[in-house]
């Protein structure tokens, strides 16, 4: 033993340090005498600084200003803001329109999401197997290119009780009575959901289609050889591989549903009888119709917090170990 270690020491030229033979191999059990310095990263920070400053000005400052407003009675006439002992917040607990707004918003986005994801994935699968994929994608993308206000106006005319084509169609079929689609408290919500689905399903389709292209073909083939038909193949192989893509699509749509109210304002303005007054529309009314900026700020903050929490939950759900390993595997 002493013999072998002395011969390896010569090899190193470090006579005072011992290397040891173990399992027939030479091993080293000492640390290097000194480490070379790691290059400093400060340089990168300076590169990012301008971006950080701009970002701070346009997002962080307004965020704190929002918190400030939510704690004050804000006067737009210039009389100065007055601290009002959390009144903006305490009033929300007694505000039935605020609570209804939340309920309607959740109902609205849940309906949109289910229809958009279901339809979007189905369309993507059909398109992926279609020869006319390119031209069909172009056609399907058209609604998405439209400004939401214009989409709202288009559908406003289609739904119109006197000359709307859809109204006429449904009335002729005997499904609809005298009231127009947007005029009935039970049908108005469905009306605005359909507009959202019409405009934004293509986005889900597009993202899912990109995901489908990246589903490893050999996995699909291996599963076919294992004995799966096309439907099982989709649910067993394609869908798990699509999770990261669906996460992005759902996250985008879900945040959009919480902020895009252009079409709703054009179509119903929250009516009839507040049946489509989802929270963002109510927020719009409070802040920019009644100019209660303090209360509006409080409502906006609740919206922000819930958006963040739901976003985190979504990421957690989709970021399960299964979909995670799926991603690393695809990267190989």
């Amino acid at each position: 033993m002493a013999d072998t270690s002395s011969s390896t020491v010569e090899l190193d030229g470090t006579a005072d340090l011992a290397s040891v033979m173990r399992d027939g191999r030479r091993t080293i059990n000492y640390d290097p005498p000194h480490l070379n310095p790691v290059p400093s990263r400060q340089y990168y920070f300076y590169l990012m600084l301008p971006a950080i400053i701009i970002l701070a000005c346009i997002t962080i400052y307004p965020f704190f200003w929002l918190i400030y407003m939510s704690l004050h009675k804000v006067d737009i006439g210039g009389a100065g803001d007055v601290w009002n002992d959390f009144k903006n917040w305490t009033r929300l607990t007694r505000d039935s329109k605020f609570q209804d707004g939340w309920w309607l918003l959740l109902k609205y986005s849940a309906m949109c999401m289910f229809m958009e994801v279901g339809l979007g994935v189905l369309l993507a699968v059909i398109l992926n197997n279609s020869r006319a994929e390119k031209i069909l994608v172009t056609i399907f993308l058209m609604p998405m290119m439209m400004a939401p206000v214009i989409a709202g106006l288009v559908w406003y005319y289609l739904y119109n009780g006197t000359f709307g084509w859809y109204h006429w169609l449904l009335e002729s079929a005997g499904i609809l009575g005298e009231t127009s689609i947007l005029g009935g408290t039970s049908t108005a919500m469905i009306g605005i959901v359909i507009v959202d689905v019409w405009q934004w399903t293509p986005l889900i389709t597009l993202i899912t289609l990109a995901g489908l292209k990246r589903v490893p073909r050999d996995q699909l083939e291996a599963n076919m050889v294992d004995g799966a038909g096309p439907v099982r193949n989709f649910f067993q192989i394609s869908l798990p591989n699509l999770y990261p893509f669906l996460l992005i699509a759902i996250l985008l749509r879900f945040m959009d549903n919480f902020r895009f109210i252009d079409a709703i304002l054009v179509l119903t303005g929250g009516g009839p009888a507040n049946s489509t007054k989802i929270l963002p529309t109510y927020l719009f009314d409070v802040s920019f119709q009644f100019f209660k900026l303090g209360r509006g700020a409080a409502i906006a903050l609740t919206l922000l917090v819930v958006t963040i929490i739901l976003g985190l939950i979504l990421v957690r759900v989709f970021d399960s170990p299964a979909s995670k390993t799926g991603q690393t595997q695809a990267g190989n």
Partner: protein, 365 residues
């Protein structure tokens, strides 16, 4: 278990012909290797056997049954893919059990079969891991486990060990052969590595540019190549080729080259005369590096050549030689003393060399 027969099979991708008029048979329980360089149509052949690719022309039979129109799931085959194609979101256990679950087999029976396959491949401790947590060799074992667990009538292996490191690959060659012999299942194995084909297969089908070049036992493929391409493709390091004239000289046939004249054996001369009675012939001599004996000194008898460089390989030594304008590679013992620029003398092993027609490339012997 089943025999496999490909009858006049073609595969076309648009204008490209990947497989041309392929006829192959693989007996029940046999290990057949399809060997060829990349793009030779071997993978297309395998994918047609699996049912993953439409058969452009011709028929494939498993036993007596024509399977052209059967989807993969109804062919009772198992396939191992080149990059394993494991399901990343499933554990090793679930990966192996997948095909049994798809057939709605009883849970206890599945468990028993998966455990048995895992034991055979020595991957029992890995059953709860996901593919991302496995090494290359472990992934490969899982992929094989997925294939053997179902006891199919035919195994299709698509370069399953190509991505393993050299040492593991050598080890797996032996293991795969043992496994196939133990199970007795018909196996069609695609590879570009001649070592795999020669060491494992009962029969080897050598393909080039979509065309079957030679079908035979590994020994036949190596020692009796039917044409120049097969001769040059099989063997590592590759065969040396030297252009010669073949002339009648005093009742025997001789190969003449500016630097040497060699006499064919009687048997070889008889073969040549029978095949082609014409007098003078343009031929190409093929000699494998280990069929050339090299002596470091220049003797009067023997062929004189110059050493270009020597490549010691540990147990062997490769010698690059210049014979006039042509280069030769010879394999000799590491005690070879020749240095760069030295004259040396060669002897060819007359019983093991090959002569090809220079125009057609067909082998005389």
């Amino acid at each position: 278990m089943a025999s496999v027969k490909l009858s006049n099979v073609w595969k076309m991708y648009g204008q490209t012909e990947a497989v041309r008029d392929l006829n192959l048979t693989c007996a029940d329980g046999e290990f057949l290797c399809v060997l060829g360089p990349s793009g030779c149509g071997k993978s297309s052949t395998l994918r047609m056997l699996a049912g993953l690719e439409h058969i452009s022309a011709g028929d494939i039979y498993f036993g007596d049954k024509r399977v052209n129109d059967l989807p993969p799931k109804d062919r009772d085959i198992a396939m191992v893919f080149e990059n394993y194609a494991l399901y990343p979101h499933k554990t090793v256990y679930e990966n192996i059990a997948n095909s049994l679950r798809l057939r709605r087999m009883d849970k206890a029976l599945i468990d028993q079969k998966v455990k048995k396959a895992a034991a055979m491949l020595e991957i029992e401790p890995l059953l709860d891991r996901r593919p991302a947590e496995l090494s290359g060799g472990q992934k490969q074992r899982t992929a094989i486990g997925r294939a053997i667990v179902r006891e199919p009538q035919l195994f299709l292996f698509d370069e399953p060990i190509a991505h393993l490191d050299a040492k593991l690959r050598a080890h797996m060659r032996g293991e795969l052969k043992i496994m196939q012999r133990d199970l007795g299942t018909t196996m069609i194995y695609v590879t570009h590595d001649q070592l795999e084909a020669l060491s494992m297969a009962d029969h080897v089908a050598v393909m080039h540019e979509g065309v079957l070049q030679q079908f035979g036992t590994p020994h036949e493929i190596y020692s009796q190549p039917v044409n120049e391409w097969v001769a040059g493709f099989i063997g590592e390091p590759p065969m040396n080729f030297v252009d010669c004239e073949m002339v009648e000289e005093g009742g025997s046939l001789c190969l003449t080259h500016p630097h040497f004249t060699q006499v064919l054996t009687e048997a070889q001369a008889a073969i040549v005369r029978a095949k082609d009675p014409a007098g003078q012939r343009q031929v190409r001599l093929g000699v494998r590096p280990d069929e050339i004996a090299v002596l470091a000194e220049a003797l009067d008898e023997g062929i004189k050549a110059r050493v270009l460089v020597t490549e010691p390989l540990g147990g062997d030594m490769l010698v690059d030689l210049a014979l006039g304008d042509s280069k030769l590679l010879a394999k000799t013992k590491p005690d070879f003393a020749g240095q760069r620029g030295d004259e040396c003398s060669l002897t060819f092993d007359r019983n093991r060399w090959h002569v090809f027609d220079r125009a057609s490339g067909l082998a005389y012997f």
